[in-house]
């Protein structure tokens, strides 16, 4: 029995209401086995659902593409006032979806149509610079290299010149390749190039 003071009067209150406040039980009542089982079951179910969702999410993954889009290359040659170029203004070299180790080559015939011997130099210009570093260029005539190196190096005219006598014809062979060790930088890239020729009278 406990007492509760209200103002100056003492009131007797029922035990059931007051006792839990005044004397809380030292140990809370133990849950029954069934209640414990249901609680464990709930946790187990929740965990099971989470694991199942994780497994399902894994199996619903969509595989990423592994295909590599290769590099597309092309070249055409421009006319020069002194030289007859064939083919001109038409693509003479085309390589599609090149991957490391691949190459494409094409030939251009040039003829000195003047009455004097000419020193001919060439350069290769690409609209895009994406492949400047990775694309290898080899330009040769009569078995000799006019240039061999990266595409970026042929933006200016070749140092080596091809001597053409009046009326003489020579074949320029252009080869564009991706070295076998190239790892990246070529994927889906394009180089549409133009071979430009410069001729000066030979001394």
């Amino acid at each position: 029995m406990s007492l509760w003071q209200s103002g100056s009067r003492l009131r007797r209150l029922p035990l059931a209401v007051v006792e839990p406040l005044a004397f809380p039980p030292a140990v809370s009542p133990q849950p029954s086995i069934h209640r414990s089982l249901r609680r464990v079951g709930a946790f187990a179910g929740l965990a099971l659902g989470g694991v199942l969702a994780a497994i399902a999410a894994g199996s619903w993954g969509i595989a990423a593409g592994t295909g590599t889009a290769g590099a597309d290359v092309s070249a055409l040659a421009n006319l020069s006032g002194e030289l007859d170029v064939s083919p001109h203004a038409k693509t003479f070299l085309r390589g599609r979806a090149l991957t490391p180790g691949d190459a494409a080559s094409g030939d251009v015939r040039v003829r000195n149509q003047t009455s004097k011997p000419l020193m001919v130099r060439a350069r290769l210009r690409a609209d895009q610079r994406d492949l400047d570093r990775v694309l290898r260029v080899r330009l040769q005539a009569r078995g000799e290299y006019l240039y061999e190196g990266p595409l970026a190096g042929l933006r200016g005219y070749t140092r080596t010149a091809l001597r053409l006598q009046s009326g003489e014809t020579a074949t320029l062979r252009l080869r564009l390749s991706l070295p076998a060790g190239t790892r990246s930088g070529y994927e889906a890239r394009t180089a549409e190039t133009t071979l430009e020729l410069d001729s000066r009278v030979a001394r």
Partner: protein
């Protein structure tokens, strides 16, 4: 009356269902917060990989990061800005543009389109089958009422059963 074993089994199954739904919901929310998009597929052009009503999770990326074979989502260039999810067949960089050829797995024709190289596409990484139907159901205001009414009704029934059920001998005096 349901036996105690069956009731335990129902408890486990119910909580497993809740755990499953909760994990998926949390995964979708985390994906959304981390910048991914979740989109409902409205057509069958990518079947059987992705079916109508599936929800796909797409990870935004620059166009040049795509690979041939990727399933990507892009904005239809000449349409009303519809989002299309198809597989990359070819891609080619042309100056400041990237030109793609894509095709749905169930389609017999491909489409060519291009996007600025500084633009954005998204690679589909996951799909959740049929979730789109549930999301569509929830978006409809009239049907959304069921989502409130049915749980409220079930809760009411549960409470009534609990009130009217005779107390078990071991439960007496502990309420």
């Amino acid at each position: 009356m349901i036996s105690r074993g069956a009731r335990l089994l129902l408890t486990v199954a119910g909580w497993a269902l809740a755990g499953f739904a909760l994990t998926l919901a949390v995964t979708l929310v985390v994906a959304q917060v981390s910048g991914r998009q979740s989109l409902t597929v409205l057509s069958g052009s990518m079947e059987p990989t992705i079916r109508t009503g599936d929800v796909v999770v797409a990870d935004p990326m620059p166009p040049m990061d795509a690979h041939v074979g990727d399933v990507i989502t892009y904005k239809e260039p000449h349409g009303a800005g519809r989002l299309i999810t198809h597989r990359v067949k070819t891609m080619q960089a042309l100056g400041d543009k990237v030109r793609f050829t894509t095709q749905g797995d169930a389609n017999d024709t491909s489409e060519r389109w291009q996007v600025a190289s500084t633009g954005q596409i998204a690679r589909v990484t996951h799909r959740i089958p049929r979730l789109g139907y549930a999301l569509g159901f929830m978006r409809d205001p009239s049907k959304r009422l069921f989502l409130i009414a049915i749980p409220a009704l079930l809760l009411g029934v549960f409470e009534l059963v609990r009130i009217w059920r005779p107390a078990r001998p071991e439960a007496r005096g502990t309420s």
